[in-house]
């Protein structure tokens, strides 16, 4: 099988038929063998019934139905797990992505890129609640992870299957798939794709996810660093406290020797010295503990991919 198209669906009853029609038309035009994997993420409307109906007509369709709503990351992961194609394309189930862009994505995969991601430059979404938070998040992700991408949130992406199958998605990590895959040394390309306004239903995301994105970003930042040495990372985290320890110590010594020599004085600065010293020791110990955890873990898979992608070394 050349191509697997993975589409997560959550309460998209009205879109299913149009989606099937458009995706089929686009995929047939590519001249490659393909399968369509539709993941029903615990929809509570008639989505599953619609999916059954089209799966019955079209043998290229595989429907993976969840017991309950697990979120987009899990749905994409399930799609990857059930896919057989050499290349996997993912897109949203709400028809905001245009299946006509498949060809463009595949061109770049054929050129040798491992991940090709859509960039919705002309996004047809609400400015305040969707686009501005998204722009801020993408800027921050680019700054912190070093993988500078305009649009991490675009579901329309193409991946080389053997790579994406080595990257395990959990929680809500799909947003950071590109930085995470850079862990395994994959070559990344962003292309401008079409974006259309929502025709049916309504958006499933709100502003509440901002703090989540922020904490996830912290995780990704750390994960990207820890594959080599987590102790260093925690060591860096402990530096401010180490500095605080020294500062408080200096103040204590100053009070003791110069300001109030030989007199009784409040113990506040010595106390703060001890507190900061404890904190930095705690962080350093956590770093050593993490080294232990990482050593126990199995990174053979990541290393295998690394050597497969870059046989000559680290250069791309």
């Amino acid at each position: 099988m050349d191509l697997s198209i993975v589409i997560p669906l959550y309460n998209e009853e009205e879109s299913v038929d149009a989606l099937h029609r458009e995706v089929t038309a686009a995929a047939e035009g590519l001249g490659r063998s393909y399968e369509l994997i539709l993941v029903n993420d615990g929809s509570r409307d008639g989505t599953l019934g619609k999916l059954r109906a089209i799966a019955d007509r079209d043998p290229r369709i595989k429907v993976v139905s969840f017991r309950k709503n697990y979120g987009q990351t899990a749905a994409l992961q399930a799609g990857f797990d059930h896919s057989d194609g050499d290349v996997v394309i993912t897109l949203d189930g709400d028809l905001q992505n245009d299946p006509a862009d498949f060809g463009l994505l595949l061109e770049h995969i054929d050129e040798g890129y491992d991940v090709v991601s859509g960039w919705r430059r002309d996004r047809k979404d609400k400015m305040i609640s969707r686009r501005i938070p998204s722009m801020a998040a993408n800027w921050l992700i680019g700054r912190l992870t070093g993988t500078r991408i305009h649009d991490n949130g675009c579901t329309l992406k193409a991946y080389r299957a053997e790579l994406v199958k080595k990257t395990r998605l959990y929680a809500e990590m799909h947003r950071f798939l590109a930085p995470m895959m850079s862990l395994s040394g994959s070559r990344y390309k962003e292309v401008v794709v079409h974006h259309r306004a929502r025709q049916f239903g309504q958006s499933k995301y709100g502003m509440s996810r901002i703090w989540k994105v922020f904490l996830d970003l912290l995780t990704v930042k750390m994960l990207l660093g820890f594959t080599t040495r987590p102790a260093i990372w925690f060591g860096l985290l402990s530096l401010p406290f180490l500095g605080g320890t020294l500062l408080a110590l200096a103040v204590s010594v100053y009070i003791h020797t110069t300001l109030l020599p030989g007199m009784s004085y409040p113990l506040i600065f010595p106390s703060i010295t001890i507190l900061f010293a404890f904190a930095s020791a705690h962080l350093l110990l956590l770093g050593i503990f993490s080294e232990l955890v990482v050593k126990v873990g199995d990174f053979k898979e990541i290393e295998a991919v690394l050597s497969a992608v870059n046989p000559g070394g680290t250069g791309s």
């Binding site: 959990y170 809500e172 904490l215 506040i268 956590l286 126990v296 199995d298």
Partner: protein, 337 residues
């Protein structure tokens, strides 16, 4: 071992954990097996006996000989608790429907048909609720308080999760991974696995009306169990969401306290060195960073094990059966080693 017997597979398996309080098991068996038989279902009983309670085994063996249906007795090596007992029983259950039953009369046998009916209506699990309750107001107040905390923490509206009577499909029983005190939270765990769970009111049995007094240790244990369930069902895949938010809140609080101290010092010339305010703020900030860093370690652990864990439960894979195609070789595909 009786489970490999060539006899017909029963439709219902009743698991009775005999680990703490138990009443006349002979009578319990008769009443409930008769009621299930009257629903037109064949039944086996599995008594899982705690190591300390071996004394009941002779009586159970007598029961085994007299019984019409199959009776299995499992004796545990030690005192492993109710969760372990239920797991042992569920592993051996052969029926399509698995029932858990307290080893004493909690509910009247005559009402249980409703729970089986709920399963026929599409639920994966039906949990009993002793209603109307007829025991002392102290018991009821305890129970109400516990359940309102539970409701706040897990967002599920069960009224009586301490009721041992539950009816479930075997599939559900196989997926519950019970340990420690988790047997109390079976409905939440099932919901979390994506099963549908409903509550069925059952009349409370007269023998269940004794006054229950728990030591403070028991309450503390239960609260910790609630915390565990809260954490397990909401944050297992994202420890930083929990520790990070908590840590950030503590840090912000500490920062605020220190800021107030600094403002008082700079603008109002109020000494900070003879008060504990600065120390408190610093302590909170340190605590915040420590909490957050624990969350980071949690994330490392999750990341490393994410490869082995599936994050979702598939109900079904729908695909039109196609005639076998010649296998297409995957060019350049990596072999997982």
């Amino acid at each position: 071992m009786r489970r490999s017997s060539p006899r017909t597979v029963p439709e219902v398996s009743v698991v009775v954990p005999v680990v703490e309080r138990f009443s006349d098991l002979q009578r319990l068996y008769q009443d409930f097996s008769r009621e299930i038989a009257s629903l037109g279902k064949s039944v086996e009983f599995l008594f899982v006996v705690d190591g300390r309670l071996r004394g009941v085994v002779p009586a159970l063996q007598q029961l085994q000989q007299d019984a019409v249906g199959e009776v299995v007795i499992v004796v545990m090596g030690g005192n492993f608790g109710e969760s372990a007992a239920l797991t042992l029983g569920m592993e051996r259950a052969r029926g399509e429907i698995v029932v858990t039953l307290a080893a004493y009369f909690q509910v009247e046998p005559r009402g249980i048909g409703a729970a089986f009916a709920a399963l026929d209506d599409g639920s994966d699990m039906a949990v009993g609720r002793r209603f109307p309750r007829t025991d002392s107001w102290i018991n009821r107040t305890q129970s109400r308080l516990f359940h309102s905390i539970l409701r706040g923490m897990t967002g599920t509206g069960f009224h009586d999760i301490s009721c041992g009577f539950k009816v479930m499909k075997r599939r559900v029983a196989r997926e519950l991974n019970l340990y420690g005190g988790m047997h109390r939270f079976i409905p939440m765990l099932a919901l979390n696995r994506g099963f549908t769970v409903c509550e069925v009111p059952l009349p409370q049995h007269a023998e269940d009306r004794v006054f229950r007094h728990h030591g403070s240790g028991a309450y503390l244990g239960r609260l910790l169990d609630i915390l565990t369930v809260f954490f397990l069902t909401k944050f297992t895949r994202m420890p930083l969401r929990f520790f990070g938010l908590l840590g950030a809140a503590l840090f912000a609080l500490g920062f605020g306290v220190d800021l107030i101290a600094a403002i008082q010092k700079i603008f109002f010339d109020q000494g900070i060195s003879d008060r504990a305010l600065l120390l408190l703020g610093t302590l909170l900030m340190v605590l915040g960073v420590q909490t957050l860093s624990l969350g980071l370690v949690g994330e490392i652990i999750i990341f490393i094990h994410a490869r082995n864990v599936r994050d979702y439960q598939v109900a079904e894979v729908i695909r039109k059966p196609i005639p076998a195609l010649p296998a297409i070789g995957k060019s350049g595909a990596l072999q997982a080693s």
